[in-house]
Symmetry: D2
Subunit: 397 residues, 4 copies
């Protein structure tokens, strides 16, 4: 009944009763008489607060996992869709090698899967009920902490009362996982803001993530990705706040700990919202396939491929590396690219090569000639997609 009153908003909160605990006890006394005064028996605000925080953290972790499952499903769909389309993947923001959009998208799923695994370990480690620890030393009443633990769905009850009332490890660990998760989202937000910037233009972001200007309707500002990136900084700030807070304390309960909530709540809300935004992103993201493909011609992205081909023909790696470097330099001087070369020209430099070399220096080669597990080759991508499907099946998605 009290629960119903609180949910309905009809619960008569009164300031003269210090806090939520006392208000509930008082209401119970009004409803059932003096027996209500037994409610707090064997309880202390210290173990109750520890319990509430723990339930809150475990609930958040479980919710985030569900969002990740949904997201991985969406990412896999888009990876399937664009698995044979290419773009110039970079290191140092300099075009390096051709890569499948599908492979790129699935690399982001890998990050989320690690976060999900950490959330599982987190739930296992902190499924411990603090109820019965009292203010710090337990109770002289014949409590059975194991029983309340089971009723509340925990794996077990506390091992040491003094530890458990001052233990804020679950808060810090959850915040740390949140930081890692947000850094993942921020790193690819950075990618997407770059790819959608005016002179690059390889992707088109869903309108729902952007704001425009009524005067410059072509200007599509990637606001929600910028905010994801900005909120990652905030989560890092809140996590630092928590670390600094906990570092400066002796053991046991100190009032400083009240500050942990400001940081925890902000982190939990931010992560929950940011995962929502991702759903919009992945459902509406569009790849400008041709513009990205065209960017592959700008460089000598097939140089590594060519060197590896020579190695397969028996040239020691270091020598192959060196010869390809000379060839590229020569092409630049003559303002040509590797795909402009004829078989005869290749043969002057590399007598061993046959017609295959003309395929090797085409970007599509990257998809076909890479065959091992984990590579950007089409076979590897299809294996990855199959594995993600199993991963989702195991989670009932």
């Amino acid at each position: 009944m009290i629960r119903r009153e609180i949910t309905d908003g009809t619960f008569p909160f009164r300031d003269e009763f210090e806090d939520i605990h006392m208000n509930i006890e008082q209401r119970l006394r009004e409803l059932v008489g003096e027996t209500g005064g037994k409610l707090h028996t064997g309880r202390s605000r210290n173990d109750q607060v520890a319990l509430d925080l723990r339930l809150y953290c475990l609930g958040a972790a479980s919710g985030w996992q569900k969002s990740i499952w949904r997201l991985v499903g969406l990412i896999a769909e888009r990876a399937e869709e664009f698995k044979t389309n290419l773009f110039p993947a970079w290191t140092h923001m300099q075009a390096a090698q051709p890569m499948s959009w599908g492979h790129y998208f699935l690399s982001l799923a890998e990050m989320l899967a690690r976060d999900e695994a950490r959330l599982s370990s987190f739930q296992l480690l902190h499924s411990v009920s603090p109820l019965g620890a009292g203010a710090l030393s337990g109770s002289s009443l014949p409590l059975a902490p194991e029983v309340t633990a089971e009723i509340l769905g925990f794996s077990g009850s506390f091992g040491n009362s003094y530890d458990v009332v001052g233990d804020r490890d679950a808060l810090l660990e959850l915040s740390q996982i949140a930081v890692q998760l947000m850094i993942h989202l921020s790193r690819w937000a950075e990618d997407f803001i770059y790819m959608a910037s005016t002179p690059v233009g390889w992707i088109d972001l869903p309108d729902s993530l952007c704001t425009g200007s009524s005067m410059m309707p072509q200007k599509k500002n990637p606001d929600l990705l910028e905010l994801t990136r900005g909120k990652t900084a905030s989560v890092i700030g809140h996590c630092t706040g928590l670390m600094t807070l906990l570092k400066g304390l002796p053991t046991s309960y100190q009032r400083d700990l009240q500050q942990d909530k400001e940081h925890l709540f902000s982190i939990v809300d931010t992560v929950t919202d940011s995962l929502e935004v991702q759903t919009l992103l992945w459902a509406g993201l569009d790849v400008k396939v041709e513009k990205a493909q065209a960017a592959l011609d700008n460089g000598f992205l097939m140089a590594t491929e060519l060197a590896e081909y020579l190695v397969a023909k028996g040239v020691p790696f270091r020598a192959a590396h060196h010869q390809v470097g000379s060839l590229v330099k020569q092409c630049i001087d003559q303002d040509r690219t590797l795909s402009d070369m004829s078989l005869d020209e290749f043969r002057i430099l590399f007598p061993l090569v046959d017609e295959e070399v003309l395929e090797v220096v085409r970007p599509e080669g990257a998809l076909l000639r890479r065959t091992h597990k984990g590579s950007t080759g089409i076979r590897s991508i299809e294996l990855q997609l199959k594995n993600w499907q199993s991963w989702l099946d195991q989670r009932g998605e």
Copy 2:
């Protein structure tokens, strides 16, 4: 042979060969001829650096676990030694309830055990070999990343080449665990510095952790505990450096990542050293049993105990709480303590009580009257000690 040269210090490092990779390759070519040029086949500095970092992190995690096992063993010994001695445990740095030194010490072991569990999850999650991922897209050579993974002792090989070359999750997670571990050490360093401070004086720190003054030989500065506390701040700083570094990057390899090593190495060394210092601490820590015991008389630490006793006699908690509060106030006005009260005096206020009440208000009651799991009662402490022994046995300590 090259390994031996490096170990011996006779390896001819030369600056003209860019880095460690090229120096080794060059030396190999001197020793075995041009075949040495094959060494880098199917390799890239990107996957090699990712491999080295991962091996380094996994090694550190495993080393810390061993230190924690040793430390838990030591703490359990000292807890056994002082299990029946009491001190006034505090909240808000204000004396609150009597507690067994043994119970207090074992609360610290709980913290370490959580850190150890996180280190185990860490090792499981990141036991993935990056070798074969190349610069970012894998290789067109017929590599078998699964085989090199097995030889190197990993659980498996990478799922996605692009992810694995830019993945620094292991570094960040290890740093986060390090922060948590150091915060634990720092919180009890804070306790011990307080307990050893001039006007408190409940413990005596081992000389090996302190410096003195030749002119004031009685001044024993707890330098190594202060440094542990200070170094916790440094580890937090380094972890923030890493978070900020990773946050500001797009995916893939960017040179900014080179900065991760400054922070990682400092964190790993600090944690390793700080765990060493703990061994000295726990081996040499002395409790000034009588001074701590004497401090129990300063307050009304048995008030909770008395209220719980009344509850056991049938008084509703809230009423018991109220009556004991009045009694304490009355004692203060008369400059007496609870243990100065006679049975008759108690009976005036609480007609239900019998002789037992005189035991209830003595600090030793805390040890005897708390019987449930996890409390500061002697039965609970002995159960805890038994559980720690099993924990250590499982780990072969």
Copy 3:
């Protein structure tokens, strides 16, 4: 009139007009007709937001200065009150030398005065109006940014439009000053929590800063000082959030900047409130003069004094240092203190000394024998008090 409506709460905010700017413009058009459409002429949300943030920061800085003046006045009063009372000042939380409470209190005023000086430099540096910078490049309309700057009370107008719209230096600098100020408050909160802890008890905190327990009325938890300490961690976290946010951005306006407000507002409110709490603290703080004085006997705090006395008599410092060390050790062995020694006993060790030595080893000597500027001697304290009075007079307090 619009200002009055907003203040009254009668302003008709409507969601269909994007933000506060558009709502005001719309209302103006309702009131004065189409001329209202001119309001935004030569304006952009970018320069307006930059202006508002700057006014907010400058206002906060000026408010904090006034609080500091009030606080320094209070501290000086309490320092005057307790200037001749002593306590054992520590290093490493180990009693080191006798110190006047007045001298100790005034050391805290020094910290605040440095913060106040930084707030002055801050106001000088950032008194620059951004109005007229437009979105980023200024305007082709004949604006006069210097004139609006003057009307708004700034020292001048922006030098470069592109810089000023993305410039968040004022936010970061204010947050950095806030961190320093809060660290000062936190450091002495740490002192006071220690000094008020049960076994130390040298001070009594005002009830308005503490909470008690109805059952243990003697337990006075220093909640507001603990919160000051905890909130310092939060301010550090928010400052780190801001640093990380700004670090990850290119120049110009990016939407990430919206996150700066969460951190800035929290910092400003926290500092303002924490300075309020200090007023309560300093108005109500009580020193338990005798308990603190009694603690001076616990050590050999006059050892330095004695050595300096020997130096004044011509003994080289290193030799004096050594001899006093031996004497102290001998006292400890015999369970005596320096003030138990007779003149004859002193003379056996130090033939040069006269009766004055008996004064030298009494704690009060610290007040009388230290005469130079800045020392804990009474003359120095009186000079400090006079200087603080001038400092306050200059500020019209």
Copy 4:
């Protein structure tokens, strides 16, 4: 002579003498006999360490100022060189308005000048000698701290001995200024990495800042800018380390403070080096004027300009804004740009306009039509250049 020995490397450091202070004293005693034992008279390691740290910080601040002067000079030169060349300045990484490279470069000088001003305030505030404060309370010897302060070149001596020995404000403030300075460098490093990335290509970075690949010679990785960006994260980390360290301490000297040096030294070295790297950058930076100019055609960057022109003709801003928006939308539908429109076409929409409108929609208009102080107009840029010259002259550069 001792100074010469230390400089020469012939000074006989011996481990048995605790630290640098004792080694010097010992050597002095070897050279001059027992009088050497007077060296430490009226000194303490506490005030000496405080002195050394202060001198180190003040020296670093002064060195950074000189580097900034040099850098501002270089930036002004390059701004002069490219003052009439344009590029599409962005907000949200979306092209927004044409801007002069000169104006853009000078916006970066503004940031440095604010840092320089903070360094000046810093030097004024902390020019205080701690010598004579002893361990914490001053000395009973007749010291004259004012005199040693003057000899050492400080503005004055400490006001309160207890404050000055534990005061680490100078370290924190210098670190905070370093963070701000590095964030400035990082923000424009981010710009330049973007502008030099393969598909953008508006600038060419000096080879001395980049590494290449022997196999892909066209790939020019902007390593030193990436490191500048990465090192900014490190400086933020070190500053957070310092904040967290200081926050967790009571007043006076605690050994934790030893950790401040790890952070301070790393920050000072990083800033000094990063300013060096900037000299290479600005001396060698090249603008690809045509590629940047060409990028101006991609959008409707003159929309704001056109709207402002209409306003000048008497159209209320909001109406002008609306009409231009419609026109741009119409152009997009017809696949035309504003500069493709004829005067007659403009007149249909905006009857008031004359031939000037054809100039207004050309990018060069931005330079000519913006005339007020601080804008990107050529008159404003020339005024800025003149002001920077005065700024440099005042500093003797």
